[in-house]
Symmetry: C2
């Protein structure tokens, strides 16, 4: 049974998809708490509606990363709620020390692109402007890089000729809400193994994750 | 009716897929000639078996690009066979001047990756080593960059946990043999339009390509 802490900065639709999958009995996990670096992020309201502990964690003085004192505050909050697995769900900061090393291969993210294509911000807009014909999402472990950690799974969607950034983003989000619960479910069942950069499923050496 | 010249350095399986689609009446085009920078490339033998003019074109002194005298020899050969559209099929050289400008938006390539991920050589091996869960192929117009031209279409395949570079490459090639004839067929039917980096299908302004 995974004891999950979710970190988010925005609306929390991926948090909701994971929580719904847990309630439907599809993931052997519980979400112990939700934390946001944004005081009025809707993800906190969603968590409270689900009866899940939710808190704003001060990540200042930085704006685009969680590091130092802010990271220590986050670790304290996650420890307080006995979290052993961290899920980033629209958390808009790079994870730095000491948080990065506090959950080695126990922290995942979902990125709205087929990595390594289009890392960074607004990747659906990057894909559209590049003229890609396939876009998608990637669930990956967190490492020290920007969207570079080992990939657990990816799902593709077509880019349509009449897409706007918004319509493409919406199509990708539909896949995110499938991919993220699926990936976390595999991890919760002990079926995921990391070998260098490759993430393998059902290889038998289930102690690795 | 497109009058196609195919340039290849290897076995020519994509040449064969396109020729088979033409013979089956699926593409309003003919392949007027095949050229290779490699004297004993199997693509030349394939062409001759199909009754298509085939020639080795000396691209020396360069090894990884076609430029200068070699490019002029290639242009002469293509002109001699009244080629108005160039298809690169496993042609292992960067296209430089004057060939690059001789066929503006009239030269296409297929790359065995979901560009912009994994440009360059042995991209299936790159994808496997990176740990990507989706690989695929990209048909694109040629521009001055390395695998950077406007994308016509892309097809994805899964990367399996037990894939070798060879097994993944074979799975991608199956999709190449579907994607390349499809893309050339769309162009032959005048249905493809380029707007900046984006390639649009059936937008009504059919004079652009």
């Amino acid at each position: 049974m995974l004891n999950i802490g979710v970190l988010g900065s925005g609306s929390g639709s991926n948090f909701q998809a994971i929580q719904d999958a847990i309630k439907a009995g599809k993931i052997a996990a519980r979400i112990n708490c939700v934390a946001s670096d944004v005081a009025d992020a809707y993800i906190l309201e969603r968590a409270r509606k689900e009866g899940i502990a939710a808190a704003h964690i001060d990540c200042s003085p930085f704006k685009t990363k969680i590091e130092g004192e802010g990271a220590r505050r986050m670790i304290d909050y996650l420890d307080e709620h006995e979290v052993d697995f961290v899920v980033l769900a629209g958390f808009m900061r790079m994870v730095k020390e000491p948080l990065l090393s506090a959950f080695p291969l126990r922290m995942v993210n979902i990125h709205p692109a087929l990595l390594p294509a289009f890392p960074g911000l607004a990747s659906w807009k990057q894909a559209l402007e590049y003229g890609a014909k396939l876009a998608g999402c990637t669930v990956h472990f967190i490492d020290a890089g920007m969207d570079t950690g080992p990939i657990i799974l990816q799902r593709a969607v077509p880019v349509e000729d009449d897409d706007t950034p918004e319509s493409l983003h919406a199509r990708i989000q539909v896949e995110e809400h499938i991919a993220y619960p699926e990936a976390i479910g595999l991890i919760a069942e002990g079926r995921v193994e990391v070998a260098g950069r490759r993430v393998l499923i059902d290889r038998g050496n289930l102690s690795r994750i």
